[in-house]
């Protein structure tokens, strides 16, 4: 199953089980979403549960909060994560704090799905990775799958979670894992072990990282598309370090135990994300690792990230963290 199919399946399964689950967003209804993530749902569950919305991100999230307060479980889609900014106030000032400020009288059990990240020549407004903005705001969970299996299990867990969850979908992975080489044909999900998606209901716990592979030289912390780019770089480099590759899967809450145990074992930590570097989530990871594992570290914690420029269109492949940047970082961190 592709990641898009897994997401569609997760929505279908939860909608079947719980008639309070409500899907809304620009083009999600009849058309089934510009990426087809909600295809077929309106025909199956009707327009009161799956509906198009006006093009108003702030309206979509504000209305979702109100529906959540009524007792529904809204799953709003923001068509591209780049367009989440008009909804920032509703997310940050309202959804994030409703439980706290009302002492639990009201909650916002919403799951905001949104495709994010680059690698598709989407230019400045179809490529950004805004997760760091939200992890900075207390009260929001941030979940990012990297495989079809996780996408389904994590989405179900997010929808069933009583807190507001931002569910960022790496759109580069919708139709297949990505090795980071823009000039090589990309493979589809068919045959990939993580594309075996069970039928029906299952959850992947939010806040538990996945150890993708184990090694003793180095801990690599990453999520989303970069999980695959790192894995294939490790496979391809003749002198690649033996790394614990950790897919965080959820940034808030964060699986600090897995991180701590791994870094204490390996003594080195490399953080990889597509988002711009400064004040990105990598900065938080780096601080956590050095606060908790300082005496075990054999080299400075390093980051491989996107650059601190707006996302460029034509130079996308010089911007996108790929095998070349990773190889340099491996060399440096193993030398230190």
């Amino acid at each position: 199953m592709t990641m898009i199919q897994a997401i569609n399946d997760a929505l279908d399964v939860t909608m079947q089980r719980d008639d309070t689950v409500t899907v809304m967003g620009e083009d999600v209804g009849f058309f089934g979403g510009v990426f087809r993530a909600t295809a077929g749902l309106q025909a199956k569950y009707g327009t009161s549960r799956v509906f198009d919305t006006p093009i108003s991100e702030c309206g979509i999230i504000g209305v979702a909060i109100g529906m959540g307060a009524y007792g529904l479980r809204p799953v709003p889609e923001i068509q591209f994560a780049d367009y989440i900014y008009p909804a920032l106030d509703q997310l940050v000032s309202e959804a994030a704090r409703l439980r706290y400020r009302s002492a639990g009288e009201f909650t916002a059990p919403i799951t905001v799905r949104s495709p994010f990240g680059g690698g598709i020549f989407g230019g400045q407004t179809h490529s950004q990775s805004p997760e760091g903005i939200f992890t900075h705001c207390s009260g929001l969970k941030t979940v990012i799958p990297s495989t079809p299996y996780d996408a389904k299990g994590l989405l179900i867990a997010s929808i069933e979670d009583n807190d507001p969850v931002l569910f960022f979908e790496p759109k580069r992975l919708y139709n297949g894992p990505f090795h980071g080489h823009y000039d090589r044909p990309a493979k589809g999900w068919a045959g990939h072990p993580d594309a075996q998606v069970p039928e029906g209901h299952y959850r992947v716990e939010i806040g538990k990282a996945r150890v993708v592979r184990e090694g003793s030289d180095l801990t690599i912390l990453t999520y989303g598309t970069m999980v695959h780019v790192v894995a294939s770089t490790l496979d391809e480099l003749p002198d690649a370090p033996k790394a614990d590759l950790i897919d965080l899967r959820s940034l808030i809450p964060l699986d600090i135990e897995t991180i701590e145990a791994s870094v204490k074992k390996t003594g080195r930590c490399l953080i990889v994300h597509e988002a711009t570097r400064t004040s990105g989530f990598g900065a938080e990871l780096s601080a956590l690792v050095q606060e908790r594992c300082f005496h075990h570290l054999e080299a400075p914690v390093q980051r491989v990230t996107g650059f601190d420029t707006p996302y460029p269109h034509a130079l996308e492949w010089a911007y996108f963290p790929g095998p070349v940047r990773l190889a340099q970082a491996f060399k440096q961190i193993m030398k230190d």
Binding site: V34, S48, F51, T278, A314, V324
Partner: protein, 439 residues
């Protein structure tokens, strides 16, 4: 059904009917016959032309009428007839035909893998062309992504536009923007954002600045009917109204916002022009496929702005004949016959018929003009492709990525730039040489 629990009540008060959620539906979907019966099209001449200094409160009817000049048989009449000379009408015809030829060529270029993306304005060319002819060259335009006609009508260099589409070495935007997201300050054309509606408050701000400085220039902005749902649209209306900003807010109602029909933006309940009423903004609803009507309405709004009588909102009733973009397949969500059934016809053909009827034009000259414009576009394309195309990989020197994030580069960007260049070198990949401007 949903369980009724104290946490999740579904109240069913005695004797009260259950509430129902209304979700608007378009009149036709794929496989169904197109249906435009809900489009009220008043005859030419029915919508009066008030003086441009009429208080907004006295113009409520105009939000529900339709400014029209050209009958579908090609006759121009009524109070809004701008009485343009044949030369001006022919120039507008030419600009529309050039826009169409340009769109066609660039759409095909995307299909041939020469660039990543394209968006056509087929069927709604009159909206931009007539506006460009009605405004002064000094007036500032804040377009959305479907007003390439503004640049073409202002005689902007096609090669420059294509360079941007190809993200090539001569692209003044240095390959930073999606194709079609032009910025041409020299032509009073503001940098296009991919984020919908953001340019409206900016246009109002530009107009406020012009007024605050005692300037004489006005501003105009465009957005789709779907985008009127964005908060920015409403902020723009409030500011425009409060400060009587010399601005024209154009709502291009082309019936569709990707797969969502205009009812999804509230179009079933009232007109888009009527949105201006609540803000105290003078509003006009205009036949957007009638280039003479758009010209007349825009001239009216410009006169109003220049006389310090405040902003105007214009709803252009038109139809998006093609897909939303090269990434879109409209046959998945709308009736196949819709474009042909659109009751306001084709703006280019309507003006052409009018000019032929008036004896200023004929089929032979039209065919010759189309051939000539096609050739002009082809020549421009060749010239542009000499600077490279996106489909052949990188055309930008790598360091352009770091230029201009700020006026002066802070240390962290300088460090990242050095890192990227080292990385590129280590991988044995060549940098691209910068092309001298004008090369």
């Amino acid at each position: 059904m949903m369980a009724t629990t104290p946490e999740n009540p579904v109240w069913t008060g005695a004797n009260r009917p259950p509430l129902r959620l209304h979700v608007p539906q378009p009149p036709a979907r794929p496989g169904e016959a197109p249906d435009f019966s809900a489009q009220a099209i008043p005859p030419v001449g029915e919508t009066p032309r008030p003086d441009p200094d009429t208080p907004a409160a006295q113009m409520q009817g105009h939000a529900f009428g339709l400014v029209r000049v050209l009958d579908l048989d090609g006759t121009a009449s009524g109070p809004w007839d701008p009485q343009v000379s044949p030369e001006v009408a022919l120039a507008m015809l030419r600009a529309m035909a050039l826009t169409r030829a340009f769109d066609d060529r660039m759409f095909r270029a995307q299909r041939q893998g020469k660039t990543s993306f394209y968006m056509k304005s087929l069927g709604e060319e009159a909206v931009s062309i007539a506006a460009a002819f009605a405004l002064d060259d000094e007036d500032m335009l804040f377009p959305s992504y479907r007003q390439q006609g503004l640049l073409i009508a202002r005689n902007h260099d096609l090669v420059d536009m294509m360079n941007q589409i190809y993200s090539n070495r001569a692209d003044r935007m240095k390959g930073r923007q999606l194709p079609i997201m032009y910025s041409v300050k020299a032509k009073g054309f503001f940098s296009i954002s991919g984020n919908l509606a953001t340019q409206l408050p900016q246009a109002v701000g530009w107009a406020m600045a012009s007024a605050a400085r005692g300037d004489t220039r006005i501003a105009a902005a465009w957005l789709g009917e779907g985008s009127t749902a964005e908060g920015d649209f409403h902020s723009a209306c409030t500011f425009a109204s409060v400060y009587r900003a010399p601005v024209i807010l154009n709502v291009v109602n082309n019936q569709w916002a990707i797969s969502s029909f205009s009812g999804m933006a509230g179009g079933d309940e009232t007109t888009f022009a009527a949105r201006g009423l609540g803000y105290g903004i003078a509003t006009l609803r205009v036949d957007g496929n009638d280039v003479l009507a758009v010209l007349a309405a825009t001239r009216w709004a410009a006169e109003r702005a220049r006389g310090n009588h405040g902003p105007t909102m214009i709803e252009h009733v038109t139809y998006r004949t093609e897909g939303h973009s090269t990434s879109d397949d409209p046959s998945a969500y709308r009736s196949a016959g819709e474009a042909a059934a659109w009751p306001l016809g084709d703006p280019l053909l309507r003006l052409k018929d009018h000019l032929i009827k008036q004896g200023h034009w004929d089929e032979e000259r039209h065919a010759a003009m189309e051939a000539e414009l096609m050739e002009q576009v082809r020549t421009a394309q060749k010239a542009s492709e000499r600077h490279g195309i996106l489909g052949h990989g990188l055309n930008q020197p790598l360091d352009t990525m770091f230029e201009g994030v700020f006026e002066h580069m802070p240390w962290h960007l300088a460090e990242q730039e050095a890192q990227m260049l080292a990385e590129w070198q280590a991988a044995g990949l060549p940098d691209i040489k910068r092309e001298e401007p004008g090369a």
